[in-house]
């Protein structure tokens, strides 16, 4: 058991190193931050001086090594664009993304399971078929388009909801929350629908197919034969067994929600880490890009690790050589 965990942690560390290496080798193709940092009247000497100051004149392995050296000590450097420590900026921006992801996730899970069960039970009903067809929209339309459509309907035409930003936020220590003000809650609605729609349809279709599978099982038939009510059969017997694979997928989708937040945040000018990352790419703000990518990969690796360890506990038959392949 311990050996398994140690091995997985070492594997995770290797993954992080490779992500960092890949990221750093990509930064060189994104462009040059110098022109963004210096004004129109700069000279060739200014360019050289700044390049030296930022260490951009060093070779790529040296730059990467320096970044690792600092990152291990928890220091991600200073943003080129804002001239502030990256860690400070990330902490400032994280609550917005996490709140958005949490609300989207809860919406996606609640509606996904409800619709999934409904469409499974009423397989041939008109409403169920309508939901199934409508769910294709959620799968096929790009996030960007969904966001813009929602803005045009609810902000421009109806004027009900804000088209951008977070509304008023309340500071609680280091955490800024939009959940305590009416404008903050209103501002959450459109972005969380935009971000959660795809996940909701995914969960819904998964729940539906699992449920249909379970409802065909013998024990359900026997339950019906015993004269149990539909409600007891559907919600006590069937749903419980449906949820095992669904929970796994939900766990893995958690990371996807935070990663997908980039597009939603750009459309709604949502001040989270995703928007920060997009701005960093446009400015070639290497310290911010590196920190963000590392953060996201740490998150994915951690989720995978936890899922693996949980599997290990749930299923003692699992061998190490079969772990990790999902």
């Amino acid at each position: 058991m311990l050996a398994f965990i140690i091995r997985r942690v070492l594997q995770s560390a290797l993954v992080l190193l490779i992500v960092g290496l890949t990221a750093f080798s990509m930064f060189r193709f994104i462009g040059d931050p110098i022109d963004n940092m210096l004004g129109q009247e700069r000279t060739a000497m200014d360019i050289e001086r700044l390049r030296e100051q930022l260490g951009l004149d060093q070779s790529f392995p040296v730059q990467y090594y320096r970044f690792l050296q600092e990152a291990v000590q928890g220091n991600f450097g200073v943003s080129y664009r804002q001239g502030r420590p990256v860690a400070e900026i990330l902490l400032e921006r994280a609550p917005a993304t996490l709140e958005l992801a949490a609300v989207s996730g809860i919406l996606a899970i609640a509606f996904g399971i409800a619709f999934g069960v409904f469409t499974a039970i009423r397989r041939n009903g008109f409403t169920a078929n309508f939901i199934m067809s409508a769910s294709l929209i959620g799968v096929s339309l790009p996030t960007f388009l969904i966001g813009i459509l929602l803005i045009y309907i609810f902000s421009v035409e109806l004027g009900w909801l804000p088209s951008f930003g977070r509304g008023e936020v309340v500071q609680i220590g280091n955490w800024s929350t939009g959940l305590l003000t009416s404008s903050g809650l209103k501002a959450l609605i459109l972005p969380s629908i935009t971000l959660g729609l795809y996940q909701m349809t995914l969960i819904m279709r998964l729940v539906r197919s699992e449920m249909l599978e379970v409802l065909r099982q013998d024990y359900i038939r026997f339950a019906r034969a015993r004269g149990l009510r539909d409600r007891a059969i559907h919600f006590r017997h069937a749903l419980k067994n449906t949820m095992v694979p669904v929970i796994t997928v939900i766990g893995l989708q958690l990371g996807a929600i935070i990663a997908f937040a980039i597009i939603t945040e750009t459309v709604f000018q949502w001040p989270g880490v995703g928007l920060l990352f997009i701005n960093a790419v446009q400015f070639v703000d290497i310290p911010v890009m590196a920190a963000y990518l590392m953060l996201i990969s740490v998150m994915f690796v951690a989720i995978n690790l936890i899922v693996d360890i949980l599997y290990f506990f749930i299923d003692p038959r699992l061998r190490v050589d079969r772990a990790g392949g999902h």
Partner: protein, 521 residues
């Protein structure tokens, strides 16, 4: 908004007096710093013009007018300039403005750590005559010195020292990166980088306020569609810019006004004047046709600028025949128009130059720097191919574009230039002078264009006090550049702003948004 609604309604019923007028505006980029000397870029300087002030400032028509200096005069046969400072001016924190602050701000803005040091290259010494008189001594007579420092902003020396921000710090930032203390009409009350910046009127401002804003909030919105939606829904009162393709849609809305003008920025094509050979040519690998002025002129004849303006710019831009727009000081009225659109003349010139079948080459272009830049480049590519110049267009984001140009990886490129001094001397210094790092000349002259007469005229222009004599020299340079087709100037980039109909504001050609010219009706 909604929470305050009932309260506001009650308030309006009880006391129909002056209402709080809040103003919200948005632009695509957030100014990266609040330090007026750290970054010499339009978004930063434009924003901070509402917060800090210089000795002089520009009016709605770009004319120089008094600000922290009430008057100024040239002293001692072109030895320098004397500025008489305004008395009873207070900074936002209540500190008094004196000549000491001017000297401090000069040392700060002219230091190596600043991005604005080039403005002070002609200055040899700054002398405090008394508390309200300052002399700027120049190494040579400098007629446009007062014009060239309109964006140099004065900071309180005590505030900077107390907050450990005596020098700008681009790399690590300091107190002045997030806080501001100027003498301007508005003070920053809250600054959240990338989110919102709140300004409120400075009660102790020396000027007579003509605006009626009680609170102004700036939010960057980078997605154009979202910004348009926010304007249509009334969440923001003003956006800049409006994408050209959305102008017609906004004009149909009675609640919206679209304000259009021409910017200071001229869009042009540049050439490799020094390269031995083309970099991206299939059949002319060992020659560089663009060294021949006839070939460059052929490019000018081959491009149908009016057609580009009609289609790509939807009629919102103006053609131009030189490196500055008509709104700039020193614009050459005497200069003939651009070579007209004439594909036959272009083919004849190419044949004359020894390329009867044309040639292929690589055309580099940015895709996120100027209005519709990539679309304009596509149109140019198509037009050039009509006369046998087969360009391979390579469009890229600006952060990879400049390094490519610096590395000479182009056969032709697109460039936009907005003169920081709003004077015709500026592009000559940066784009036409022979590159010389020591003298800070030609730093954007990627192609290495070089003309002895232009190099000779430039220092004379820089130090000629007599206006007509100076204009004559500027005219001569404009003629040389046109005769050589050093660049092919295409058009002046349009300015398109969008605002709610009940708001009056002034659009200045430098694309600066000045809050004190806003009034809400």
């Amino acid at each position: 908004m909604l929470r305050n609604f009932s309260f506001a309604a009650l308030f309006a019923v009880l006391a129909p007096v002056t209402q709080a007028t809040e103003f919200t505006w948005s632009s695509t980029t957030d100014p990266q710093t609040m330090d007026p000397h750290a970054v010499n870029s339009a978004p930063v300087l434009g924003f901070l013009n509402n917060v800090y002030e210089g000795l002089v400032r520009r009016g709605p028509d770009m004319a120089i007018e008094p600000a922290l200096a009430t008057s100024w005069e040239a002293i001692g046969e072109g030895a320098g300039w004397r500025f008489n400072l305004r008395r009873d001016v207070t900074f936002h924190d209540g500190a008094e403005f004196t000549a000491q602050d001017v000297l401090f701000s000069y040392e700060r803005a002219a230091s190596d750590a600043a991005d604005t040091s080039s403005w002070f290259a002609p200055v040899s010494e700054v002398i405090l005559v008394d508390d309200f008189t300052v002399d700027f001594m120049t190494t040579a007579p400098n007629p446009i010195f007062p014009d060239s420092i309109a964006n140099w902003m004065i900071m309180d020396s005590d505030w900077a020292v107390a907050n450990d921000a005596t020098r700008p710090d681009k790399e690590r930032g300091n107190h002045a990166t997030l806080h501001a203390n100027g003498t301007g009409a508005f003070a920053i009350t809250s600054r959240e980088p990338g989110l919102r910046t709140v300004l409120e009127p400075h009660a102790g401002w020396w000027g007579a306020a003509t605006h009626n804003i009680t609170r102004a909030e700036f939010t960057p919105i980078q997605n154009p569609a979202t910004a348009i939606a926010a304007l249509l829904s009334g969440e923001v009162d003003f956006i800049n810019p409006v994408p050209v393709q959305d102008v017609a849609r906004l004009q149909q809305d009675a609640n919206i006004r679209v304000i259009q003008g021409i910017e200071a920025r001229v869009i042009m094509l540049g050439f490799p004047h020094e390269a031995e050979a083309l970099k991206y040519s299939a059949e002319t690998p060992d020659a560089n046709p663009f060294t021949d002025p006839r070939v460059r002129r052929a490019v000018a004849h081959a491009i149908n600028v009016p057609a580009i303006l009609q289609t790509t710019m939807r009629g919102n831009a103006e053609a131009v025949n030189q490196l500055v727009s008509p709104a700039m000081r020193g614009y050459s009225d005497a200069l003939a128009g651009q070579p007209p659109y004439d594909p036959d003349a272009a083919r004849a010139l190419l044949a004359e130059a020894g390329y009867p079948d044309g040639f292929s080459f690589g055309f580099k272009c940015p895709n996120d720097r100027y209005l519709n830049d990539e679309a304009v480049c596509q149109a140019i590519t198509a037009m050039l191919s009509q006369v046998g110049m087969r360009a391979t267009l390579d469009a890229m984001p600006v952060q990879t574009y400049w390094p490519e140009l610096r590395a000479d990886n182009y056969d032709m490129y697109l460039l936009g230039w907005s003169p920081g001094t709003f004077d015709a001397e500026h592009p000559i210094r940066f784009l036409a002078a022979t590159p010389n790092a020591e003298k800070r000349l030609g730093s954007w002259n990627f192609g290495g264009y070089s003309n002895a007469r232009v190099d000779e005229l430039l220092p004379m222009i820089q130090s000629e006090i007599d206006e007509p004599a100076r204009q004559a020299m500027l005219d001569e340079v404009a003629q040389i550049l046109q005769r050589d087709t050093a660049y092919v100037p295409l058009y002046v980039q349009p300015l398109v702003w969008g605002t709610r109909a009940h708001i009056d504001l002034v659009q200045r050609p430098d694309n600066f948004f000045i809050l004190r010219w806003v009034s809400l009706n």
